[in-house]
Symmetry: C2
Subunit: 127 residues, 2 copies
Amino acid sequence: MQINLRPVGTVISKTEDSSEIEIHERFSPGLKGIDKNNIRYIWVLFWMHRLSEDAREILEAHPMGNRAKEKRGVFALRSPMRPNPMGLTRVELVERRDNILVVSGLDALEGSPILDIKPAGSDRRSN
Amino acid sequence: MQINLRPVGTVISKTEDSSEIEIHERFSPGLKGIDKNNIRYIWVLFWMHRLSEDAREILEAHPMGNRAKEKRGVFALRSPMRPNPMGLTRVELVERRDNILVVSGLDALEGSPILDIKPAGSDRRSN
């Protein structure tokens, strides 16, 4: 079975304080109703595009890259190395300008394809 | 750009109380270190396999399917309809038996392909 994803946007800039996500024009109707007055936190699912295909074969790694620690399985770690290298981060919505979301706390690199955006609970309790 | 995912497991059973996830043999080294004594909560990322390809074109929907409510963009909703129909649920690890994880709280259907497993913070605060 093969599953194909379509990027819905891209991380277009990143500073220490915030990142800008541009949602592709084609998918911008999906943003209707998102503004920071009603949705303060969102989940951002992104593709770790800099990882090589080989890295997807790695199933065990040292926690935090610390060789003093015994290796663990990648499903027990937040390591970027995993069979499907998707990152998942709960970020704060700082501003929305049309199809651009300015967020803080995103650990994606510039150029990372965005796969999905979902609202997150404001009390950090809902998924 | 096309992104290909490989399912790493499947939801093999589901009751009212719990679900069983079977990680495919090939990926089972990725589970090393997962047991409920050190990882109580995990994020499960799964593919909503029952949705048609057409449903991926829907970009706006009524919240909770309630037609009395104005339509919103799918990125502002937890609706299963979205360009990349991936579900994301934080579940409690009830038991691990080799390459089977018994979890509670998973809203995936039986047969859903599993895309990733990540540890979640026990205090529900970390992503």
